[in-house]
């Protein structure tokens, strides 16, 4: 235990690796804050866009969603939220799921879910924008 601080609860190996239970460090905490700050603006944008689309015909809705500014804001919302909610759900899983297999399974499911909804949504926006 050479050089270990008396109050240090981590083993030297943990300290060398710099890893917590998520196998990554405080980076996620910070990214959660960054995506939150961006999320405030982007969520307001989403609500405004949604209101603009209410009750419109399919053709009109497509036209609005495909316009560059709206499409870019939607893409930013999608990517930002997907990363934000991936970190958030990982935190929830690590708080409640302790058994190894269940933990691995839920962490994988979280990743698959976030990638899937984000790619599907982003693909839809791109398809609308490029009109094919």
């Amino acid at each position: 235990m050479i050089g270990q601080h008396p109050n240090e609860m981590r083993t030297p190996m943990r300290r060398v690796r710099g890893l917590g239970p998520a196998h990554t460090g405080t980076g996620h905490f910070w990214h959660q804050r960054v995506t939150s700050a961006a999320g405030v603006l982007l969520s307001i944008a989403l609500i405004v866009i949604a209101i603009a689309l209410l009750g419109r015909s399919h053709a009109a809705a497509v036209q609005i969603l495909a316009s560059p500014l709206v499409a870019i804001l939607m893409l930013l919302f999608i990517v930002n939220s997907a990363y934000h909610m991936w970190i958030g759900m990982q935190e929830i899983i690590l708080d409640y799921v302790h058994e190894d297999k269940a933990k691995l399974f839920s962490l994988l499911a979280n990743t698959f879910f976030c990638f899937a909804v984000a790619f599907a949504s982003a693909f839809a926006i791109l398809k609308l924008s490029f009109g094919v």
């Binding site: 399919h58 909804v117 609308l128």
Partner: protein
């Protein structure tokens, strides 16, 4: 004690003292809001499916879009959408509160109560406002 010894002799892991959890504390508004922040976060997580459905329907064509509109126009659809609006606004305001706390401000007892109350009152007010504006934009409830 007998239980404890039995489990030790059986070679099982010894029961260790554990720290108390939620149930021993008097419920407080800040605590409840912490729970609600987590619940709304999880609700928005699955609510993303709704957003994906909407965009994919728009990209797929008029028929798919009509199906989505039928769902969202139904009673259940309206309730889900109202819930999503509130969850998003509440989680957003709660998130802003977290960001304020991250700067080490707002921790005095009166301040944190005030911030927490503002979150809940603000989210309900904003949700109702957004829906009023939404209905106005559509030209009346449908």
């Amino acid at each position: 004690m007998a239980e404890l010894e039995a489990s030790t002799t059986a070679g099982a892991r010894r029961a260790r003292p554990i720290s108390p959890h939620l149930q021993i504390y008097r419920p407080m508004l800040t605590m409840m809001m912490s729970i609600v922040h987590r619940i709304t976060g999880a609700a928005l997580y699955f609510g993303f499916l709704l957003l994906a459905w909407w965009l994919i329907a728009a990209a797929s064509g008029p028929n798919a879009y009509a199906n989505f509109e039928w769902f969202i126009g139904s009673f259940i659809g309206r309730v889900v959408l109202f819930g999503y609006t509130w969850a998003l606004l509440h989680h957003m305001l709660g998130g802003i509160r977290h960001l304020i706390w991250d700067t080490l401000h707002g921790f005095e007892p009166a301040e944190r109560e005030w911030l927490t109350l503002a979150t809940i009152v603000g989210s309900i007010t904003l949700t109702v406002l957004v829906w009023i504006v939404g209905y106005l934009a559509m030209g009346g409830p449908r």
